[in-house]
Amino acid sequence: MDVMSQLRRQLLEHTAFLRKEGFLDDQFEQLQKLQDENSPDFVVEVVSIFFEDSEKLLNNMAKALEQKIVDFKQVDAHVHQFKGSSASIGAMRVKNVCIEFRNYCEAQNVEECFRCMQKLQYEYVLLKNQLEYLFRVEQQIRAAGG
C-alpha cells in the first residue's frame, strides 16, 4: 500500500476510534463537513480556539477553587462556558464531565468539585493529544500531495 493510502487509512481509523471511544461525537463531523476550499483549515482553527479557551478556563477554575471561601457561582460560570465550547466542537467526554461538575457546583461540594476539575484536566489533555495526532496525520497527507 502506498504512503498516501496508508495515511488516509490511519486518519479514518483514528477518527473512527475517537468516535467509538466517545472522545468525539457527531458535532465534530459537522465541523469537518463545514471545512471547504474557502476555509481549508477551518477545523484546526476552531479547535485551536477551543484549546486556548480551555486552558484559560481550567486555570480560572483552579484559582476559584483555591480560594478560602469558594465562589461556586464563579466556578459554575467557568464550567458552563467550558461545557458550551466542548459541545460546540463535539468533545463529548469533556462535555459530560462538565455536566457532572456543574451538579457539584450547585451542591456546593468543594471536594467533589476538585475531583471533577482533575477529571476535566485529564480528559482535556487526553483529547488534546488525540486531536493533535489527527491534525499531524492530516498535515502529512497534505504534504504528500493529498
Binding site: 458535532q27 480556539i49 479557551d53 458552563h80 459541545a87 460546540s88
Partner: protein, 162 residues
C-alpha cells in the same frame, strides 16, 4: 432530465442578494462556527460579541449612529445567544422588539440549555424561533429558506429541494 432546484442555487432569486445576518455571541468559538454555517448557506454575516455592540451596529446604540446604512446592508435576520454576560439575548430581543425601526427583523435565540420557561419567555417576547446549540447546518438552511420565502413568495420553490 428535470431535477428539483437545489436550495443552494440562487440564479432565480431576487437580484442575487444574499440575506444579511447579524450573529451575536460572547464566545469566539461559537461566533466562528455560526459565521461558517451562515457563509456556507449563502448568507452575508456580521458578528457581534455582545448585545451592546449589536445594538450599535443596528443604529440603536447610545451614539445613535447607524453603521449599516442603505437598503443594501439591511439586516434580514438576527441570531443571538441567550446566555451572555451583561445584556442577555433576551434583553437584546426586547430592545429590538421595542424599536420602531428594527422590530420587524426576525430574531432567533439560541441556547445550550433546554429550559421551557426560558423558551416561552423568548417566544412570548417575539422571538421567531428558539434553537438549541450547537447549531446545525440543517437549522441554518431552514432559517435561510424561511427568509427567502418571506422576501419573495415566488422563491418558496427553492426550498422544496431539501
Amino acid at each position: 432530465m428535470a431535477s428539483p432546484p437545489s436550495s443552494s442555487s440562487s440564479s432565480a432569486s431576487t437580484g442575487d442578494e444574499k440575506p444579511h445576518v447579524l450573529a451575536v455571541d460572547d464566545s469566539l468559538l461559537d461566533r466562528k462556527l455560526i459565521e461558517k454555517l451562515l457563509t456556507n448557506s449563502s448568507c452575508k454575516v456580521t458578528t457581534a460579541e455582545n448585545g451592546q455592540k449589536a445594538l450599535e451596529l443596528l443604529g440603536l446604540g447610545d451614539d445613535g449612529q447607524r453603521t449599516f446604512n442603505g437598503d443594501a446592508s439591511k439586516v434580514n435576520l438576527i441570531i443571538t445567544d441567550y446566555c451572555m454576560p451583561g445584556m442577555t439575548g433576551y434583553d437584546l430581543l426586547k430592545k429590538i422588539k421595542e424599536s420602531p425601526t428594527m422590530k420587524d427583523i426576525p430574531v432567533v435565540v439560541v441556547s445550550s440549555e433546554n429550559v421551557p420557561t426560558r423558551i416561552k419567555k423568548c417566544l412570548d417576547e417575539g422571538a421567531q424561533e428558539f434553537i438549541m446549540k450547537p447549531l446545525q447546518l440543517s437549522d441554518v438552511k431552514k432559517l435561510r429558506c424561511q427568509l427567502t420565502k418571506f422576501s419573495n413568495p415566488h422563491n418558496g420553490m427553492l426550498c422544496m429541494g431539501r
